[in-house]
Symmetry: C2
Subunit: 231 residues, 2 copies
């Protein structure tokens, strides 16, 4: 499909079609292996965190279902940022030619965004910060809510804003490149992998950011009124 | 200095030396015009905000010198993000050939980072978000502290984390490109424009982020202990 022949490039399923990818080796595992790993670990973490958040042994008042779901979200984020994106941050240079399980997951995902198989500079930087900052902080957020630590909403705000800004940049840089790294309108690769999976990290962090904003402002308002009464 | 001749490129002062820049026109104003504009407007805003923050007519307790300086910082950020970076976000495609005042300022700054004269994709996206999100929010932060609004520390945290993350990505992307867009170790262009001017947005937001973290956690701790006593 490329206008010029690329004699050095291996045949590959990525976009733009004339992209040159060094040392590409096609996956030898079926796609459902990667997808079922992602969704079954996420589901297990959801169930586990839901139960943990309902346990009465924790200090403080019992949590409502919204808060328990938020903790499940942060546990899943800890896994996806820390393990899956952590893998990308460490091995992005090897992924196109590597057959380990997580490299195959990334080769599959890259059908919706080939920046992940060409070591795109912004993508590597953003993913590295996501993996090593928002990953551990997501797990700390879970712990902070379970133990009712006073900075629990600060952590929720920090992680959510970090995720939101990273994801806005992720979409915005690709929008300005005319969505060249994906097969536009493809139902699975463009819409599900690229748009839907990343839209989750726009929508949910926005809600959690506003939630943290409300809680922290209410706490500050309460403290301000106590101080005002003292004067 | 380039290994290959670039017959189409106009001569320019940017790095790497073989960079091709379309329609480049050298500045016709001396450098001190841009620098004195930047520093005199910043100094005026600092003085004005310092005085405004000291006025006793505002609701709430009088501010200490640290808080007043923080407000000065946010006022200067409102100007730099909103006006200077706002200009870049709107006119980045015209800057190399444009002679308006702020375009000349950017052509001067780009001697320390040529990504600003080649419409580098990440740089345009990050600067656009900085201009249109952190710019107005910086001004809102000033107002929120003057009026002692309950979300004042939330705003301080949001703006500071946004600036910090954007700036970390700014340095990190350029580090991974081997600082190719600057003349490395040049005292003015590399050290002052590129390193020092941007290091300010690492150091000061980090301090303000920790400050907001402390204040918001203290407010939450106070609210939690009130609720615990009620039970």
């Amino acid at each position: 499909m490329g206008l010029e022949a690329e004699p050095l490039a291996a045949p590959h399923p990525y976009w733009p079609r004339d992209l040159e990818i060094q040392r590409y080796v096609p996956n030898d595992r079926p796609t459902w292996h990667s997808l079922s790993f992602l969704f079954s670990v996420s589901a297990a973490l959801l169930a586990l965190t839901w139960l943990a958040a309902g346990w009465r042994g924790w200090t403080g008042a019992p949590m409502g279902p919204g808060r328990r779901l938020a903790l499940c979200w942060f546990a899943i984020c800890g896994f996806i940022h820390g393990v899956i994106e952590g893998w990308f941050s460490l091995y992005h240079m090897d992924i196109p030619g590597d057959q380990s399980f997580l490299s195959q997951l990334w080769k599959e995902y890259a059908k919706g965004d080939s920046r992940y198989v060409i070591e795109d500079n912004f993508t590597v930087c953003m993913e590295t910060i996501t993996a090593w900052a928002w990953g551990p902080l997501s797990l700390w957020t879970v712990l902070a809510f379970l133990q009712r630590q006073p900075h629990r909403y600060v952590l929720q705000l920090v992680v959510s804003l970090g995720q939101l800004y990273g994801d806005v940049l992720y979409f915005y840089t690709e929008y300005r490149e005319g969505f060249a790294h994906s097969e536009m309108w493809h139902p699975l690769y463009f819409w599900f992998y690229f748009v839907f999976m990343n839209a989750l990290w726009i929508i949910i962090p926005s809600i959690l950011l506003l939630d943290a904003w409300g809680h922290l402002s209410a706490a500050q308002r309460a403290l301000d009124s106590v101080k005002a009464k003292r004067h």
